[in-house]
């Protein structure tokens, strides 16, 4: 099914919103407002935006830590203010400031984030199982960095999801770098999508910089899942522009990363690509683009101001006491 003009504009707008929030958070980290760290997802926005823009609210989503999941959670409906408040340790944060940066909102189908990477896969299978039992055609999406696809947890989970035809979507956000290691030296093949073959799971490789391409492939997989045809694996090729975490040394295998490679990928920036296409198709004009840009900037500025002004908890010990056990 072709996208309507409104849907195309929504995808583009979401890209810009995520970028603005990312920039806000980088700034917050560098000015000492975020006390932990921030793993910027600059340049990788199209993966989350393309995959999540048209999910149902009751679909489940396990996002990776990259960009602290904003390209997924913001799009799924979590307000920027709540995300920022959690980073600022405010009581209004999505985990009352306990997590520092995780996002969690069961009403929006965001069950939380794993501290250890690759921990999502088995959990997603469990949720897929629940979704299948419930029979409401929910899908369960995992978007993880390519590094975690080596975990035994992934392979164990694929076996189950494929055998049981669970409504799972495994999306590889392949930014080509795992921490400080280029993934090509630790993975035997070029395409992670090949991993689907052994399990009989349909798999595709898409250009992760092209939000429309990502959306098209993911939507096909979602349709399959909702039709009880089982899981899919989609690999989105993208690239990490920033260091592993903002403020950390930007090295590969102990050496500074070459700027040339980064520049090559900057030319394929997902926002620029989408802009070019929509201008050509006549969906957007230069004026529209500036308007969207300004709107997103205002949204994030406002969110940042409100989140920072939100109160710190008055009784942290009480929160800790309550957080441990349910009544």
């Amino acid at each position: 099914m072709d996208l309507t003009k409104e849907q195309k504009i929504r995808l583009y707008t979401n890209l810009v919103r995520v970028r603005k929030l990312d920039e806000t958070m980088v700034k917050a980290l560098l000015t000492g407002k975020i006390s932990t760290f921030f793993h910027s997802g600059e340049g990788q926005e199209a993966v989350g935006v393309g995959a999540c823009s048209f999910l149902r609210e009751d679909d489940y989503l396990f996002p990776s830590h990259r960009g602290h999941a904003i390209s997924k959670t913001l799009i799924k409906g979590l307000p920027a203010r709540i995300i920022l408040a959690e980073h600022y340790g405010r009581i209004t944060g999505c985990c009352d400031g306990v997590s520092g940066f995780h996002t969690c909102d069961m009403k929006l189908g965001i069950p939380g984030m794993s501290g250890t990477l690759g921990g999502h896969f088995p959990l997603a299978v469990g949720m897929g199982l629940a979704a299948q039992l419930r029979g409401k055609k929910q899908v369960v999406m995992v978007i993880e960095g390519e590094g975690t696809y080596a975990r035994g947890t992934f392979h164990e989970s694929m076996i189950m999801a494929a055998t049981w035809k669970l409504p799972n979507l495994f999306i590889v956000e392949n930014n080509q770098i795992m921490g400080n290691t280029p993934v090509k030296i630790i993975h035997p093949k070029d395409d992670f999508a090949d991993l689907g073959f052994g399990y009989g799971v349909p798999a595709k490789v898409v250009d992760g910089q092209d939000v429309f391409a990502v959306h098209k492939e993911v939507q096909t997989a979602i349709d399959r899942a909702r039709a009880d045809e089982g899981p899919s694996l989609i690999e989105c090729k993208t690239y990490r522009i920033q260091p592993h975490a903002v403020g950390l040394p930007d090295t590969l295998l102990g050496r500074p990363r070459t700027q040339e490679e980064i520049e090559v990928w900057r030319k394929r920036d997902p926002i620029k690509l989408a802009q070019k296409r929509l201008l050509k198709e006549g969906v957007l004009t230069q004026v529209d683009i500036e308007k969207i840009d300004g709107g997103a900037a205002n949204e994030m500025e406002e969110a940042d101001r409100l989140a920072w002004a939100d109160p710190m908890p008055t009784d942290p010990k009480e929160i800790l006491k309550k957080a441990l056990y349910a009544e």
Partner: protein
């Protein structure tokens, strides 16, 4: 003697041992240069066969170490965060720890599992844990937790030469600590506690980073006429109970401090061993100070309520002494971890400011 940083001491031990013994090799996530740059320079010196970067596959890393050890090598598996030991719970606590025992003790299992440990960095509950209790509880594993550059180098060299699986934990906040080490080669045998400060009124047994916190408290209490003896066991398995018992016979009072969760942890074990061996010398019940019974929260304001703090240690000391004193000058540990600042001036790594 010369002054080095903790992280350099680790780096030197790795370099020396890999040079001495060709069967020693190191592998793990980002060992060619990563989060904790103590492995930097190894790749340039020893090449890709002995310094191997891996994917995020803790099960496979820990398990491959077992296989390599069985095949006659001395692998060093760098797991980056000790929290990740649990991901490879089966490989470390079952395979590495038990393989030799199960197979009639004919085999050797010379592995070093090394990783950073501890909190006070406002990370999250799965990157801030201390795992010494789980490891100490598991038969078959040795465990060393150095607190000075001198101990770090000497214990790591012993660990690499040991024929059993050794868990070697370095605290994130100690990596930049400076200290003196000898110019010549040395090792430190396992199972020898170190009296870090002598005293006569109360014995504080502290593990890992808690040694530093306890010494800080002890120095402040010294000014107030309380003489605290601080003992660092350095290795928890083998565990040197004798040095502690000797101290307790002198002071009659004990406080045990550890960063891991209190319940069913290291402090309970040490306390019971003291009780079994020196019950009649005790003038007051042993006091334990350790992390609260909950995961380690991240965030700005919560961690300090869970991890042991200098005021907690001071209060426990005063309690076993039956004294009341103003300790409002004992400050909570609110550090946070700035990698750029911490490693920027080490000279081991070239850091590009972003």
């Amino acid at each position: 003697m010369r002054e080095v940083r903790f992280i350099q001491a680790i780096n030197e031990a790795l370099l020396e041992e890999m040079k001495r013994d060709e069967t020693v090799f190191i592998f793990g996530e980002c060992v060619r240069g990563g989060t904790f740059p103590h492995t930097n320079g190894l790749f340039e010196k020893f090449g890709k066969d002995r310094v191997l970067d891996t994917s995020i596959s803790e099960n496979a890393i820990a398990g491959a170490a077992v296989g390599a050890a069985l095949a006659g090598y001395r692998p060093i598996a760098e797991l980056m965060f000790s929290d990740f030991f649990l991901i490879a719970g089966d490989e470390i606590c079952n395979k590495a720890a038990k393989w030799r025992f199960t197979h009639g003790m004919k085999l050797k299992m010379p592995i070093v599992y090394m990783a950073s440990t501890g909190g006070y960095i406002r990370s999250d509950s799965e990157h801030s844990q201390s795992v010494e209790s789980l490891i100490m509880h598991t038969p078959g594993l040795r465990i060393a937790i150095p607190t000075t550059p001198y101990d770090a180098k000497g214990l790591l060299k012993t660990a690499i030469r040991d024929d059993d699986p050794v868990v070697y934990l370095y605290h994130k906040l100690l990596l930049t600590k400076k200290g003196e080490i000898p110019d010549e080669e040395y090792t430190i045998p396992f199972g020898l506690a170190d009296v870090k400060k002598e005293g006569k009124d109360v014995t504080v047994v502290a593990v890992g980073f808690m040694v530093d916190l306890s010494l800080g408290v002890a120095n402040k209490l010294q000014e107030r006429g309380i003489s605290v003896e601080v003992i660092d066991p350095r290795t928890l398995e083998p565990f040197d109970i004798d040095t502690i018992v000797t101290s307790v016979k002198k002071t009659k009072r004990v406080v045990i401090v550890d960063e891991d969760t209190l319940r069913c942890g290291v402090t309970g074990e040490i306390g019971m061993q003291i009780m079994e061996k020196a019950f009649d010398y005790l003038d007051a019940p042993i006091q334990r100070v350790a992390a609260a019974n909950c995961p380690i929260p991240a965030g700005w304001y919560l961690e300090e309520h869970v991890l042991p703090q200098p005021p907690d240690i001071a209060a426990a000391i005063l309690k076993v002494l039956g004294k009341d004193m103003d300790i409002s000058d004992m400050k909570k540990e609110k550090v946070g971890f700035d990698a750029v600042k911490a490693f920027g001036d080490l000279g081991i790594t070239k850091v590009k400011q972003n």
